[in-house]
């Protein structure tokens, strides 16, 4: 009898301790809801990413997309992004996706279809949407020429310059520009480069399916006669224009949502 009485509080303590642990574990995991509830910090996702909620549901957080990217554009989210932990994103200003793999390797690597296997070509992706946010800083708008390395000697970002090496992207800092009027954002746009190749009768890999049907960006005069980059429907949000923009901070940013951008 005494033994039984002695055991009872111990088992109650055990129960309470277990309840606290269980609730603590579930509660800690559910804290991950907070960062995904507020859409304040939306990320640009790799090519083919499903709509954000479906993307977070289907991504298995393995980073295989990270491993195949030739320019190492893809990073993985940390625990401060809650349920999005381990999911891939692109910080376009530091390293944009320049489609130098041509075949959307990240899409092919994705084991769950979080990067949908339904797309095959760069122009079919919808990572985001470029937007001109600081037109006053634009060198073209000021009629300024550009000479030198787009982002300075210390910048580590990579870009494919097909005329230098078709297969290996090089550092942006290894390329010297000398432009009468700065048109870097248009000149380096992967969509515009493909369109130019197609217009010249030389589509990438000889495959006309690679030809983007719509323009993405061009320099146009505004009402005041200033030259400014204008974003078109063909923009996929790869971020190369933002990465290559030589002024600080960049004239363009990437919106994750197309509807947030300007159309022309």
């Amino acid at each position: 009898m005494t033994a039984k009485r002695a055991r009872k509080p111990r088992s109650r303590r055990n129960f309470l301790r277990t309840a606290v642990m269980g609730i603590g574990v579930i509660g800690s995991a559910l804290l991950g809801y907070l960062p995904v509830l507020g859409s304040a910090k939306r990320r640009i996702r790799p090519p083919g990413a499903l709509d954000e909620h479906e993307f977070l549901a289907s991504c298995i957080k393995c980073g295989q997309c990270v491993q195949v990217c030739p320019v190492e554009a893809i990073k993985l989210a940390d625990i401060d992004e809650g349920f999005a932990i381990g999911t891939p994103y692109i910080e376009t200003r530091n390293q944009a996706c320049d489609f130098s793999c041509d075949g959307l390797q990240c899409v092919l690597a994705c084991p769950t279809g979080a990067l949908t296997h339904a797309i095959n070509y760069s122009h079919e992706t919808e990572m985001g949407w470029a937007r001109v946010v600081r037109p006053d800083l634009c060198l073209a708008a000021q009629g300024l020429r550009f000479k030198g390395q787009a982002r300075g000697p210390a910048f580590e970002g990579l870009l494919r310059y097909a005329e230098i090496d078709r297969w290996n992207p090089i550092r942006v800092s290894e390329y010297d520009y000398d432009l009468e009027v700065c048109d870097l954002c248009v000149r380096q746009c992967p969509i515009e480069i493909r369109r130019a190749q197609c217009d010249a009768g030389k589509p990438p890999s000889g495959d006309t399916n690679q030809c983007p049907p719509k323009p993405a960006i061009s320099l146009e005069s505004d009402a005041a006669g200033r030259l400014l980059p204008v974003i078109h429907d063909g923009c996929v949000g790869c971020g190369v224009c933002e990465m290559i923009c030589p002024v600080e901070p960049a004239v363009l940013v990437m919106d994750w949502d197309r509807s947030a951008g300007v159309t022309a």
Binding site: I60, K61, Q64, I79, G86, A109, T112
Partner: protein
């Protein structure tokens, strides 16, 4: 069939039941009687304990093998990316081994429940891994591959040291909570459409940290380790981790088992002291074994520490139909 049911019940959190007289085979009954009558066994036991005192601890052969495999597998993940040797690409949640898809069963389950669609690649990866760990014994994943397991073993060493110095005391939890957590996380994935458990999975966090570089998520892992050092021994692996339960269910049907031989056993309980899941070793308690040879239940991680700890060779890793695995 009865053994399987018992093994699953204990896996889900039930306390092992003391056998009733009808449970015992005739051979086991006879052997228990012989052991009870054999007073010489006690002399032998005392002599053995004396010998052990002079010889020190037996070498932990299985632990050495296991740590080597665990480090090698995780190193293969790291080198596949950092040196671009592309043998084992991805992380423990999902990967490709020389091109073949693999998916962690629990991660795949979370994705399937949250996304409610299954892509063929994920299905291939899941089935491949299911077959792999069915053959190799379910929770074998835990002790032979999971990087958190290794850290937890080191934390356990510190815990044991502090316990010996009477600085800390172990606070056990009710083991049924793991089943509850598994259900809650499955339900949360289905209802919210998020892979909620991945947020706190130390296995995924550590695997990604090793391959892609450390992050602040390691603070959570450190917190778990501190809990295990100062409050509750091996708490995460024993009481909480749903991955362990998923693999445990797979292992229930596996041909790889730790097998117990009653005839050699002195019941001194060295095995239970080192075991991460001592409830699976209930049959080694004097008078509990219902047969002369018994398979250890599904919660066993095949870590082999009991095999190393047993002074009389009463426990060994065994493939059904193939016999003992080399010692």
């Amino acid at each position: 069939m009865k053994a399987l049911k018992k093994s699953l019940a204990v896996l889900l959190g039930a306390d092992p039941q003391k056998p009733i007289p009808d449970d015992f085979t005739i051979e086991a009954h006879a052997m228990h009687a012989v052991q009870r009558a054999d007073k010489g066994r006690i002399q032998l036991l005392l002599a053995e304990l004396e010998e052990k005192k002079t010889k020190g601890k037996p070498p932990e052969k299985w632990r050495r093998r296991r740590w080597s495999v665990l480090i090698l597998v995780n190193l293969l993940f790291v080198l596949s990316y950092s040196l671009d040797i592309q043998v084992l690409e991805g992380a423990l949640t999902a990967s490709r081994f020389v091109g073949f898809h693999m998916a962690d069963l629990n991660s795949a389950l979370q994705v399937m429940l949250a996304y409610k669609q299954v892509l063929i690649n994920l299905l291939i990866g899941t089935v491949t891994v299911l077959i792999f760990w069915w053959v190799l014994g379910g929770r074998t994943f835990c002790s032979w591959v999971c990087p958190y397991h290794l850290l937890a073993e080191w934390a356990e060493m510190i815990h044991e040291y502090l316990e010996k110095k009477k600085i800390v005391r172990d606070h056990p939890f009710d083991r049924r909570v793991r089943t509850l957590l598994w259900l809650v996380f499955a339900l949360l994935a289905f209802v919210t459409g998020y892979t909620v458990f991945e947020t706190i999975s130390p296995t995924g966090i550590l695997s990604r940290a090793l391959i892609y570089g450390p992050g602040i998520a390691l603070v959570w892992v450190l917190f778990l380790l501190l809990v295990e050092i100062f409050y509750s021994r091996r708490a995460w692996c024993r009481y909480a981790c749903p991955i362990g339960l998923t693999y445990g269910v797979v292992g229930a049907f596996s041909p790889l088992k730790v097998t117990y031989y009653l005839d050699a056993c002195f019941h001194e309980g060295e095995c239970r002291k080192v075991c991460e899941v001592p409830h699976v070793l209930d049959m080694v308690i004097k008078g509990r074994a219902t047969d002369v040879n018994m398979n250890i239940g599904a919660d066993c991680t095949h870590c082999g520490r009991c095999v190393d700890a047993c002074p009389t060779g009463s426990l060994n890793l065994k493939f059904k139909g193939l016999g003992d695995i080399f010692q």
